[in-house]
């Protein structure tokens, strides 16, 4: 099933399929270790449609809801 990262639940894993944002978002996420093919774990999801916290390659990254919506993933 292919969905966007913001709809992945806490403690679930997902594999990045593509990043639908523009150049800036793609590059920025790439720098933090989020590329197509990488596996992420959603650690936390803040209240009030706040950001989500993902763990990727042993590192934690907070992504705003709007950013997470641009990351197309495949739930594992």
């Amino acid at each position: 099933m292919i969905i966007t990262l913001d709809s992945i639940g806490e403690n679930q894993k997902a594999k990045v399929v593509s990043i639908s944002g523009g150049w800036g978002v793609r590059q920025r996420l790439g720098c933090l270790g989020i590329h197509p093919g990488d596996i992420l774990t959603v650690k936390r999801s803040a209240i009030m449609r706040g950001p989500i916290l993902v763990s990727v390659h042993g590192n934690q990254v907070a992504l705003g809801r709007g950013v997470a919506r641009r990351v197309v993933v495949e739930a594992e």
């Binding site: 978002v25 720098c31 933090l32 936390r44 803040a46 590192n59 950013v67």
Partner: protein
């Protein structure tokens, strides 16, 4: 010889720099605290070298202003050796920058910092193998403890002498072919010389669609531009992704492969600190802890400050009449001496007791790594005022001093966000204004009243933020922020940082304070203060403040704490309640918090957001201050 410290954010560049330079660059545990570079001279085996601490950058394709500054410095071409600082516990990701640095073909040393933290996480790195792969020396270090720093610099010296350049590591064959073909075209047209970078580096930047290099080129020749587009298309067609994604994925895979070949994983040692996030980032407990931490912080500053302020004020209070006994109070020399004494007293008894515990507490929170967590917790709320979570970092720094807060807005991606965050940051009560809130409101009215001032301030900032984001309706780009691991703060480093920040008060503000209070004494002696007071009388009478307050407001523009200390001098007693009612104290405080940013802030605003927007900020805050203070007068 020029040595540049280059690495990803939060990898410990400033810590290494401080180890060599003494505590000169502010270090904290959040990515992106260094926004401008810092220089120091050092003696390297008898040679004078210059060491530069550059802002952290994730890659050489840069986005925010701080990163661009780092890249610009590196490309300027007079760096003799690069020290690539890596957080060893984040090795695989960090290697992506290392690969790009190698493309620049500069003499280089790799410093594997926080090697102890990596081992704790169960990452054991084969240093020799890593060094062989890249063809440059690799030095392990624990910068915070000073381990490995000496070796790092002696290695850097050797590398510089031999001009040792690392290996360029090739991508997969089809991508490498495209890169090579484009490099040849670039070389033919000699474009690389214009930028002073190797042709392969430039070819990659073009394939990555790096706006800086692209724009610079678009103006000049369309022929090459077409070829670039053509090569970008080849990659896009063969890989089914944009060319920039192809290149970054290639680097990512290379890094992962290198990482896997040099690392052997063992069982990580977990410690209590790893579980801290279960509370501090919890959707419910996280907010409770946030409130609690700031409430305790507030009480600590007030408790500690009051304990010192009371006896010291008493002491100075007795001192001035004593001077009056030996020198005739109606002479000029008495005026000058009492001015100097009051300036000294103001600094020692009123400002320092609150400044020290505040700055020390802030340093501990910063070094622990709490600030990015606050950004996570408050992101949703900041969206309501048109910003995103990262903006909380300049705001929190603003409670210390507005100048670094405005500098820190550079971590925000869009110009509009930087502008809104800068204007709002000027309204946050900095440590100078904090001393006014504590020494006047908390001391003479009640600690609860002081807390209310802070809460009111936050409400006003939220409303102003809403107004500003309505005026500039543009969608904020959204937060992408690394949340670093917690570090147990070192008391020594926290004290050094507190001292660095207090130096600003002791060596800049305090002399100003003493000069200011002497000038005020002279003005009073020659009865000139009344001229200024009369000029301000429409304002002071609107706010229902004593006439003598007028002069102090001028001083407040120089330094915010001056207005309070001058107030005490102007009304002629440090027992403020004897002359001013609690309403007047409150009105005065509210006015001083919001009106015109101090001179240093105006200067940095001018540089960061431009003259027009600075003038707007001055007008906006002044009008706001008058409105709020007038309301306070009638409501409080």
């Amino acid at each position: 010889m020029k040595i540049a410290l280059m690495g990803q954010p939060n990898s410990g560049k400033s810590t290494i720099f401080n180890h060599v330079a003494g505590y000169k660059a502010v270090t904290s545990n959040f990515p992106g605290k260094t926004v401008k570079y810092e220089l120091t001279k050092l003696n390297l085996l008898g040679r004078t070298a210059e060491l530069v601490d550059l802002p952290g950058t994730y890659s050489l394709t840069s986005f925010d202003l701080a990163e661009l500054e780092a890249r610009k410095y590196l490309l300027k071409g007079n760096v003799d050796i690069v020290i690539n600082v890596i957080d060893a516990s984040l090795l695989s990701r960090s290697l992506e920058l290392t690969l790009q640095l190698l493309e620049l073909k500069l003499p280089m040393v790799i410093c594997l910092n926080m090697i102890d933290e990596a081992e704790r996480k169960g990452i054991k790195i084969d240093i020799e193998k890593l060094s062989k792969i890249f063809g440059v020396p690799v030095v392990p270090a624990v910068a915070i403890k000073g381990k490995g720093i000496k070796e790092l610099f002696s290695t850097a010296h050797k590398v510089e002498e031999k001009k040792k350049i690392g290996k360029t590591i090739n991508f997969s064959k089809d991508v490498e072919d495209v890169v090579t073909k484009l490099s040849i075209q670039i070389k033919k047209k000699q474009i690389e010389q214009e930028f002073n970078v190797p042709e392969r580096f430039l070819a990659l930047k073009y394939l990555e669609n790096d706006s800086y290099f692209m724009e610079n080129y678009k103006k000049k020749s369309n022929v090459l531009f077409e070829e670039i587009a053509n090569f970008q298309n080849i990659l896009k067609e063969t890989h089914g992704r944009q060319s920039d994604v192809v290149i970054s994925s290639e680097r990512h895979h290379l890094s992962m492969n290198i990482y896997e070949s040099v690392v052997s994983l063992t069982k990580p040692h977990t410690s209590l600190i790893d579980y801290l996030d279960n509370i501090l980032m919890h959707p419910f407990l996280g907010y409770i802890s946030l409130g609690l931490i700031f409430y305790l912080f507030f009480n600590l500053i007030f408790g500690a400050g009051k304990m010192v302020e009371e006896p010291l004020l008493d002491y100075f209070y007795k001192l001035i009449p004593l001077i009056g006994k030996s020198i005739d109070p109606n002479t000029l020399s008495f005026s000058i001496i009492s001015g100097i004494v009051q300036g000294l007293a103001g600094g020692i008894a009123i400002v320092l007791p609150y400044l020290f515990p505040f700055l020390f507490g802030l340093a501990i929170l910063e070094d622990l790594g709490y600030l990015p967590r606050i950004a996570f917790l408050l992101d949703a709320f900041l969206h309501k005022i048109g910003l995103h979570g990262k903006a909380i970092i300049p705001f929190i720094l603003g409670y210390g001093c507005t100048v670094p807060a405005i500098m820190a807005t550079r971590i925000l991606e869009s110009e509009r966000d930087r502008f809104i965050a800068s204007v709002l940051a000027t309204m946050i009560p900095c440590a100078a204004r904090m001393t006014i809130i504590f020494a006047l409101v908390a001391f003479y009215i009640s600690p609860q009243a002081a807390l209310a001032v802070y809460i009111l301030n936050i409400i006003v900032i939220i409303i102003s933020g809403k107004i500003l984001s309505r005026l500039l309706p543009e969608i904020t780009p959204g937060m992408i922020l690394e949340i670093p691991a917690y570090h147990i703060p070192s008391i020594k480093v926290a004290l050094a940082k507190t001292w660095l920040r207090m130096k600003e008060f002791i060596f800049v503000a305090w002399p100003l304070l003493i000069v200011g209070s002497t000038i005020l004494s002279l003005l009073q002696y020659y009865k000139m203060d009344m001229l200024i007071n009369n000029f301000f009388s429409p304002l002071t009478s609107l706010l229902g403040l004593p006439l003598v307050v007028g002069t102090t407001l001028i001083f407040g523009i120089l330094r915010k704490e001056l207005s309070m200390l001058m107030l005490i001098q102007a009304i002629g007693t440090s027992n403020v309640v004897a002359v001013m009612s609690t309403t007047q104290i409150m009105t005065f405080t509210i006015f001083v918090i919001f009106y015109v940013p101090c001179a240093a802030t105006i200067a940095v605003l001018w540089k960061e957001i431009g003259s027009k927007r600075t003038l707007f900020t001055i007008a906006f805050t002044t009008i706001l201050a008058i409105i709020l203070a007038t309301i306070t007068r009638f409501v409080y």
